[in-house]
Symmetry: C2
């Protein structure tokens, strides 16, 4: 019987939640794993470095809004993009084709009320034995923490931003 | 006037201290930065993934014991290796040739009493304006925290090891 896959959660208000996930991405690549990443918060400025690295390493990458065509419905466009990204993520996990799927900042789609926590729990619990998942973001829902194997809270002890130092390219984005 | 370089510290007993540093390593690579890594805790099993990735990305890497020839002195071999790794790290930082230097688990050489904290503080404070430094490891000394720009404590909320699940290749090492 295969060893069960892991669910890791990086939460808290400190730094390093996404960086730690991308560190594991590199480690997984080194092991020859098939890795997929879905970013639930879109930003042109932040996180472009990770995407460039992922592209260089042949890692599948989906950022909120990729391949999304807006058609007016009763929900707002931002919410519709969030739900679309979740559908992509659920498809990646359910496919059985990945050793690691990173759901970067997925907690926000629950926080914003775009997706209720139940479908997340359902997809995460039904993940294939092959497919490890890392969830990052502030405010990890209790229901996700409850089913996770490893949960780390990143706690801010001290932050350069508090001292009015501008984000530095390479370190911060 | 150049923006001053940053000193980041990832400490605490939770997961993700080194992973977050290696996530930043990837981001820095994507920005075209010159990166150096010194690992102060040697392990054949752990962290080989990061070294493989670093090698692939053309990042300078030194692990405790690399290039070290043991000559009997009044200190133990382990201590001598630790001091040698610190000399390599101090040389990297002082050279001015790096945009980012990662001192992975450097806190242990202080914890174990191989190096006092003063030379660390001295080298870190005298770092070139170009050279950002990330310090990782449990028990970050107060003197390092005091001079850091950003300090994050990784707090264990829940850990798979507590539940007797074996470390899984790719995720844990």
């Amino acid at each position: 019987m295969p060893q069960p896959s892991r669910l890791l959660v990086n939460t808290g208000t400190g730094k390093g939640k996404s960086s730690a996930a991308f560190g594991v991405m590199g480690r997984a690549w080194a092991r020859g794993w098939k890795v997929g990443v879905v970013q639930f918060v879109k930003s042109e400025k932040w996180q472009v470095g990770e995407r460039k690295l992922a592209s260089h390493l042949g890692i599948d990458w989906h950022t909120l809004g990729d391949g999304f065509t807006w058609e007016s419905t009763d929900m707002g466009e931002t919410e519709a993009r969030g739900r679309h990204a979740w559908d992509v993520a659920a498809g990646m996990i359910g496919s059985g084709g990945y050793d690691l799927v990173i759901l970067d900042e997925v907690t926000y789609i629950v926080r914003y009320g775009w997706i209720s926590v139940e479908p997340l729990v359902e997809v995460l619990q039904a993940r294939p034995a092959r497919t490890n998942v890392i969830v990052t973001g502030r405010y990890a829902p209790d229901e996700i923490v409850a089913i996770a194997d490893t949960v780390t809270e990143m706690v801010k002890v001290k932050h350069a931003f508090d001292q009015d130092i501008k984000a530095r390219k390479g370190i911060e984005y």
